[in-house]
C-alpha cells in the first residue's frame, strides 16, 4: 500500500503538487485523471522517488520511503514514448530487468515466455523493437514492467501515442494484466473515457491538487466539485452561471426556476452543469428544464449527432442519438431531466444532483 500524506512540491513560484493525500492499495488500478499540467507526472515522479516533495510524507507498506532513491524502491515505469533498448531483441528487452538480478537462464526464459504470451508478443521475441508497430513496441515496454515484479508500477499516459483502435484493444486487455501484477498501480491519463473503461479508482487532478478520489464510476456519477465534473465529461460539460434571487434560480428564457430542499442564498452565484448526453430534443416530463439556444454547428458521428448551440452566450453541446441536422442559427429547445442536472455553489462544490425542484411559472 502506498500512502501519500499532504504531499506538496513547488518549483520556483509554480505549484506542481498541492497538498495531495492518497492511499493506494495493491492490486487495484489507480488512475490520475486531469488535463496536461494538472500535476499528474509531477506526482508520479514523487511516488517513484525521482523527485522529492517539499513537504508531506510517503509510506510504502507502512515504511517511510521519503528520501529513498528510486533504485531502492522496486519501481517500474511505462511512458507515453515507447522506450525500449533499440539494439536488444524483444526477448532481451523483456528479460532485461531480470538479468541484473542473477536469475538462472531457464527461469528467465520461462518468465519471459509467460509474459510475452500474456501480451501477445510470442511471435516477435527475436525481432528488434524498431521493426515492430507502435502498439507492439508499447507491449514490449509493458512486458518489461510486468516481468520485473515491481511493488509500484507507474504508467504515464501509456496509450497516448497509439492508434485509436489499438488503444481500444489495449484498454480492454490492461485491467486483466494489472490484476496479474499485484503491485500498486498508478496510471495517468487525460481522457475520461479511458478512465471509465479501465475502471478501478480515479483521482481527479487539477492545478496540482486532487479534488476527489474514489471508484471511477462513482466520481463520474457523484462528482463533489465542478472540476471533477468537467474533467469527467467528454464531450465537455455544459455550464451556466445562475444568480439566486428570492431563494430560487431562474433559467433564462424558459420561465422555469430551480428550488432546492436545501437553502439557496440570495445574491450568490451558482453554476448549473449538464452533461451533453443528458440533453434531449423531447420533453419527457413537465419538470424537464428547457434550454433554448441558437445552433452554431452540427457534427454527425456514425449513429449520433453533436449539436453545438449558444445558450445565454455560452457554448453548449448536446449529444443526440440518431442523425439530426440543424441549420446554422436555427433556434432549438433542449430538455434535461432535473435528476440529471448538477448544481454547484460559488466555490465549485456540488450541492445537488437529484433534489432539484423545478417550478414552472
Amino acid at each position: 500500500m502506498l500512502e501519500l500524506l499532504n504531499i506538496s512540491r513547488k518549483v520556483g513560484d509554480e505549484v506542481y503538487v498541492d497538498k495531495v493525500s492518497l492511499s493506494l492499495q495493491r492490486g487495484e488500478l489507480n488512475i490520475l485523471l486531469g488535463p496536461t499540467l494538472a500535476g499528474k507526472t509531477s506526482l508520479m515522479r514523487i511516488m517513484a522517488g525521482l523527485d522529492k516533495p517539499d513537504s508531506g510524507s510517503l509510506r510504502f507498506d507502512g515504511r517511510d520511503v521519503l528520501g529513498l532513491p528510486v533504485q531502492k524502491r522496486n519501481v517500474a515505469m511505462v511512458y507515453q514514448q515507447f522506450i525500449n533498448y533499440p539494439t536488444l531483441t524483444v526477448f532481451d528487452n523483456i528479460a532485461s530487468p531480470l538479468t541484473v538480478n542473477r536469475i538462472s537462464r531457464s527461469e528467465i526464459a520461462s518468465r519471459v515466455g509467460r509474459v510475452s504470451d500474456l501480451l501477445k508478443l510470442g511471435d516477435f521475441l527475436h525481432r528488434r523493437p524498431d521493426t515492430l508497430s507502435g502498439g507492439q513496441q508499447q507491449r514490449v515496454a509493458l512486458a518489461r514492467a510486468l516481468i520485473k515484479g515491481a511493488d509500484l508500477v507507474i504508467l504515464d499516459e501509456p496509450l497516448a501515442n497509439l492508434d485509436y483502435k489499438l488503444r481500444e484493444e489495449l484498454r480492454a486487455e490492461l485491467p486483466g494484466l494489472f490484476a496479474e501484477m499485484g503491485a500498486v498501480l498508478v496510471y495517468a491519463t487525460t481522457e475520461p473515457t479511458e478512465a471509465l473503461v479501465l475502471g478501478g479508482n480515479t483521482a481527479c487532478m487539477f492545478g496540482g491538487a486532487v479534488e476527489q478520489f474514489g471508484p471511477t464510476l462513482e466520481l463520474y456519477r457523484q462528482p463533489v466539485g465542478l472540476q471533477t465534473a468537467r474533467i469527467f465529461s467528454d464531450p465537455p460539460l455544459n455550464t451556466l452561471l445562475l444568480h439566486c434571487r428570492h431563494g430560487e434560480l431562474r433559467i433564462p428564457g424558459s420561465g422555469q426556476s430551480i428550488k432546492l430542499a436545501a437553502e439557496l442564498h440570495d445574491g450568490r452565484d451558482y453554476t448549473l452543469g449538464v452533461r451533453p448526453h443528458h440533453l434531449s430534443l423531447v420533453r419527457r416530463s413537465p419538470e424537464d428544464i428547457e434550454m433554448r439556444g441558437e445552433v452554431t454547428v452540427t457534427e454527425i458521428g456514425g449513429s449520433e449527432s453533436f449539436v453545438h448551440f449558444e445558450f445565454q452566450h455560452r457554448a453548449w453541446v448536446a449529444l443526440i442519438h440518431g442523425i439530426r441536422e440543424f441549420a446554422r442559427s436555427e433556434v432549438v429547445s433542449f430538455f434535461v431531466q432535473p435528476q440529471n442536472s448538477l448544481l454547484f455553489d460559488q466555490s465549485g462544490s456540488l450541492i445537488s444532483n437529484s433534489t432539484a425542484m423545478i417550478m414552472t411559472q
Binding site: S133, D163, E299, I300, G301, G302, S303
Partner: protein, 366 residues
C-alpha cells in the same frame, strides 16, 4: 478553392527511405487509386497507422512526388508543382510555429513571403486573429503560447491566404487535451461551413473523422476501402474492416451460414429479409459473416436468442455488455440507466444486419 482529382496515383518508397513523419519502420506505400473530391468539401482520410493516409496527403500537398499518376487541381495537372506553387496550406501533427515571431507576424509570414501589400496583410491578419480568438495574444511571441494556441496559429497561416486551394490536416489534434480537442474541432467545422474551404483531414480517430467530414475515405494497407458519408460508413460498411474500424466498440462480425434468406449462427436462425429485401435468395455464398453494430443489439428478458453475459463495462454515458452467443462474443451497447437482464435474450434491430461474403458486403437488391 479547388476540386482535387487523383488519377492513377501510386507511391512506393525506395528502400531505406521511410516516411519521415512516422515512427514505424516499414514504408507506407499507396496502391494505384483514382479519386475526385469536389470543391468546398470537408474530407477525412481515416485509417490505422501505416495505411498510407499521410503519404497520400503529402502527395496532394506536393511534399512528396508520387511514383505514378497525377494530381489535378480544378482540372490542371499540378503533379510537377511544389507545395508553394500548388497554393495549399497544411497543418501538421505537432504545431509548427516560427518561435521568434509574434502571433501576428506568424500569421503574416505566408503573405509577406508572397509580397502582398502591407495594408492587405494587416487586414487579413486582423480578421484571422478574430476568427481564431487570438486577438489578445497577437503580440506575444509564438513560443510562449500553449500547444492548442500554437496549433491555431498553424491553422491560421493557412486561413490567412485568400487564394489557398485546400487546407490539409495531418492528425492535427493528436497533442491536444480532450476538452480542447472538442473546441478546436468545432471551431474548424464552423470555419469550414462559413468559408467553404476544401479541407482534407488525416486521422486514425474515427470520432474525429466522422464528426469533421462530409465524406470519409477509409484506407487500409495503401488502398481505399470505402468512401462515404459518416452515416453510410456506420450503417453499411462495405468491408468488415470498415465495420470493425468505425464505431466504438466496432461492429460485431460473426461467421454464419446462409440458407435462403436466413442466417444460421450455431443453432440460431436469423432472418435477413429486413436487411436484404424480401426477394433475397442465397446463391451459393461462401465464407459468410454477419455484421451487426453493438448499438443495434438488443438485450431483453423475453424475446430473442439466449446468450450468456461475460462482461459488463460501464463507461458512464453507456454500458457495453459482452455476451456469448453460440460460441461467438457479441457486444451490445445499452444506454445509461437501461436495465441489464440477467439471462438475456439477444435480438437484432431489423434492417440493421449486414451480410458479408469474403469480408465484402452483400448489397440488398433494390
Amino acid at each position: 478553392m479547388a476540386t482535387i482529382e487523383l488519377q492513377a496515383i501510386a507511391h512506393q518508397y525506395e528502400s531505406g527511405q521511410g516516411s519521415a513523419s512516422s515512427d514505424a519502420a516499414e514504408p507506407f506505400a499507396v496502391n494505384t487509386l483514382d479519386q475526385c473530391w469536389p470543391d468546398g468539401g470537408a474530407y477525412a482520410l481515416l485509417g490505422p497507422s501505416g495505411c498510407g493516409k499521410t503519404t497520400l496527403l503529402n502527395i496532394i500537398s506536393g511534399l512528396l512526388h508520387p511514383t505514378a499518376g497525377s494530381v489535378l487541381f480544378d482540372g490542371v495537372d499540378v503533379t510537377a508543382r511544389s507545395p508553394e506553387q500548388r497554393n495549399i496550406a497544411q497543418v501538421f501533427q505537432f504545431p509548427v510555429v516560427y518561435e521568434t515571431l509574434t502571433v501576428a507576424d506568424n500569421l503574416a509570414f505566408p503573405l509577406r513571403n508572397r509580397g502582398l501589400p502591407r495594408l492587405d496583410i494587416d487586414s487579413r491578419v486582423a480578421s484571422v486573429l478574430t476568427m481564431l480568438g487570438l486577438q489578445e495574444k497577437a503580440n506575444l511571441k509564438a513560443r510562449d503560447l500553449s500547444v492548442d494556441d500554437k496549433q491555431k496559429i498553424s491553422l491560421g497561416r493557412g486561413l490567412v491566404r485568400t487564394d489557398v486551394k485546400a487546407i490539409l490536416f495531418d492528425e492535427p489534434l493528436t497533442v491536444i487535451d480532450p476538452h480542447l480537442k472538442w473546441q478546436l474541432r468545432t471551431e474548424l467545422k464552423k470555419i469550414h461551413q462559413q468559408f467553404q474551404h476544401t479541407m482534407i483531414y488525416v486521422t486514425h480517430d474515427q470520432t474525429e473523422a466522422l464528426t469533421f467530414a462530409d465524406r470519409v475515405i477509409v484506407m487500409h494497407e495503401g488502398s481505399i476501402i470505402q468512401v462515404g458519408t459518416p452515416q453510410e460508413l456506420f450503417e453499411k460498411p462495405q468491408h468488415t474492416f470498415v465495420g470493425r474500424f468505425i464505431g466504438s466498440p466496432g461492429m460485431n462480425v460473426i461467421p454464419c451460414v446462409v440458407e435462403g434468406a436466413t442466417a444460421i449462427v450455431g443453432e440460431h436462425r436469423i432472418s435477413l429479409h429486413a436487411s436484404l429485401g424480401s426477394d433475397f435468395r442465397n446463391s451459393g455464398l461462401q465464407n459468410t459473416e454477419l455484421g451487426i453494430r453493438p448499438e443495434y443489439v438488443r438485450l431483453s428478458q423475453e424475446q430473442g436468442l439466449p446468450a450468456a453475459i461475460t462482461a459488463i463495462e460501464d463507461v458512464g454515458k453507456h454500458v457495453v455488455v459482452r455476451v456469448m452467443l453460440a460460441g461467438h462474443e457479441l457486444k451490445a451497447i445499452l444506454r445509461e440507466g437501461e436495465l441489464i437482464p440477467q439471462h438475456p435474450k439477444v435480438s437484432f434491430e431489423p434492417g440493421k444486419i449486414n451480410l458479408y461474403e469474403n469480408a465484402h458486403l452483400i448489397e440488398a437488391a433494390e
